[in-house]
């Protein structure tokens, strides 16, 4: 059997990341745009500068599970709240960000 070139083989073994969009189903992650940590949903109320500094700039930056915001820009345009392991790239949870609206407001 013909073996794929080394680099392609590495990529196949790594597995390309796929995201299960609640609207569109299982899609390649290239259809999605990454915004960043899902803490961006928790915008502070009022004019507390320290809270805003924390909100805009500081990150926990874990090595394991990270909660993130992605947008399905080449699909339904929905904002997704995703739990992803940043070392293995395993995605364990995908929700619509709008369902978490009570957190956001």
């Amino acid at each position: 059997m013909m073996r794929a070139p080394a680099l392609v083989q590495i990529c196949i073994e790594n597995g390309n990341m796929r995201i299960e969009c609640p609207h569109c189903g299982d899609r390649d992650h290239r259809e999605f745009e990454y915004l960043g940590s899902a803490k961006l949903l928790e915008r502070p109320n009022g004019g507390d500068a320290a809270a805003y500094h924390d909100y805009v700039y500081l990150r926990k930056n874990p090595t394991g599970e990270n909660t993130e915001l992605w947008q399905h820009v080449m699909g339904c345009s929905a904002w997704l709240h995703i739990v992803r392991n940043v070392t293995t790239h395993e995605i364990t949870e995908v929700k619509l960000a709008r369902d978490l609206k009570e957190v956001a407001r």
């Binding site: 680099l7 590495i10 990454y34 500094h53 805009v56 700039y57 990150r59 930056n61 090595t63």
Partner: protein
């Protein structure tokens, strides 16, 4: 041993039996005046300048793995000083000056090759921005040559000048930029530090800090507790984890950046060329391999290996810019974990814990910064003051609004 032509001749004639290991492998002592966490380029150069410039000899560098096994051995070896904004301008300018004298300074061949760095522009807007950048570099005392399309063609005639989407409008050349042998930089600093009595302790992972009354007392390691008057973190890629052990949360995300090398070919690319279409850049190593890379993968990662879409993107950029590289076979690809800071610029500063210092957030700039980052970090740790050329890399600049956002993309680490 002082390296010289005489030594090469002498050892060459005596079977090369006179070469000795250039650093010891000491057991950690109970305590040190200064402990540096991280035996990479920055940690080793910090220890070197602490010993050489500031006369502090009781120093340990603690390395989890082996010396130079992290990002200093995983980068694409480019050295340049063509940044845009105050803070970065004077810092990288100083770094390039240190590079130019590094081999004499260390008595070690780091193979600095000032072959020139060429950045390409594809439209009038990019070209105007390059004029601005070039003027900033000239005003800082660095080299910059703004080149029209025909000048670029004379320099690098093999590029695709007439691509429909990204025709070449011109470029900005820094003739003093180039490449260096990355491992040799780590080894040269390690040798220089060891010669001045610095203990380089490998296989020694820091597991925690001992902090009493807001002041650092020492570090818990996999080889026992080590007391310290001052501790410096120089662990880019893992800065968030190490800082978290001291209760700090930082304006940093970790992302993976991929790099690639082809099989060795005859000399074809004289300069470092970067393509304005994305973050694509390419140079040719002394062994002949074409070394190139692109953007970070775009989402947080600690995996030290990248994903296929960026491989495709980089290959497309290569083929768009110089179709001739399509005939060469890619040999290897690898990934390094970058500290992506919230404004794309690094941090060299004290922390809220007395005696604990931070050098991190280097994004893509870490390798070219190695000499100046070490010198600035050593200056800060020894004197408590910022070096003249590194006054703006403050940890609190995000609170005070003094961000240094060269790319102008805001608090989006994946876009810097």
């Amino acid at each position: 041993m002082h390296y010289s032509v005489l030594q090469i001749l002498k050892n060459g004639l005596t079977g090369n039996k006179g070469w000795k290991p250039v650093w010891r492998n000491p057991e950690p002592k109970k305590s040190y005046d200064v402990v540096i966490i991280g035996g990479g380029g920055h940690g080793l150069s910090t220890a070197y300048y602490l010993a050489k410039t500031h006369g502090i000899r009781n120093i340990a560098v603690l390395e989890k793995g082996y010396l130079g096994g992290g990002n200093v051995g995983r980068n694409t070896t480019i050295v340049r000083a063509n940044y845009l904004q105050d803070g970065n301008l004077e810092f990288y300018s100083h770094s390039l000056k240190l590079w130019e004298n590094l081999e004499q300074e260390l008595n070690y061949n780091v193979m600095l090759s000032q072959r020139g760095c060429l950045m390409l522009a594809h439209n009038d807007g990019q070209y105007d921005a390059m004029a601005w950048r070039g003027n900033s570099n000239l005003a800082t005392g660095d080299d910059a040559v703004l080149m029209g399309r025909e000048d670029v063609r004379k320099l690098v005639p093999f590029l695709n000048f007439d691509d429909a989407r990204f025709p070449i409008r011109g470029g900005l050349l820094q003739r003093t930029g180039g490449t260096a042998r990355h491992d040799a930089v780590a080894w040269g600093y390690a040798r220089g530090a060891d010669m001045r009595g610095v203990d380089l302790i490998q296989n020694c992972e820091v597991k925690g800090f001992r902090i009493e009354g807001g002041k650092i007392k020492g570090v818990e390691t996999s080889r026992g507790y080590i007391g310290a008057g001052k501790v410096g973190m120089s662990v880019a890629g893992r800065t968030s984890q190490v800082a978290e052990m001291a209760g700090l949360r930082l304006p940093i995300e970790s992302h993976v950046l991929q790099a690639f090398v082809t099989e060795a070919v005859k000399p074809v690319i004289d300069n470092v060329i970067s393509f304005g279409m994305g973050h694509f850049y390419i140079s040719q190593s002394d062994k002949g391999g074409l070394v190139f890379g692109g953007d970070i993968d775009g989402y947080n990662s600690y995996s030290q290996r990248g994903n296929l879409p960026m491989v495709e993107h980089v290959a497309e950029a290569a083929m768009t810019l110089m179709p001739m590289v399509g005939k060469s076979r890619m040999l290897r690809s690898w990934g390094g974990i970058m500290d992506m800071s919230m404004d794309g610029s690094p941090i060299i500063d004290k922390t809220p814990v007395a005696g604990l210092y931070l050098n991190g957030g280097w994004c893509y700039g870490g390798f070219k910064a190695t000499p100046a980052a070490g010198a600035a970090f050593a200056h800060l740790m020894a004197t408590g003051k910022k070096a003249d050329w590194a006054t703006k890399y403050n940890l609190n600049r995000f609170e005070t609004g003094h961000v240094i956002d060269d790319e102008g993309t805001g608090a989006r680490p994946n876009l810097h």
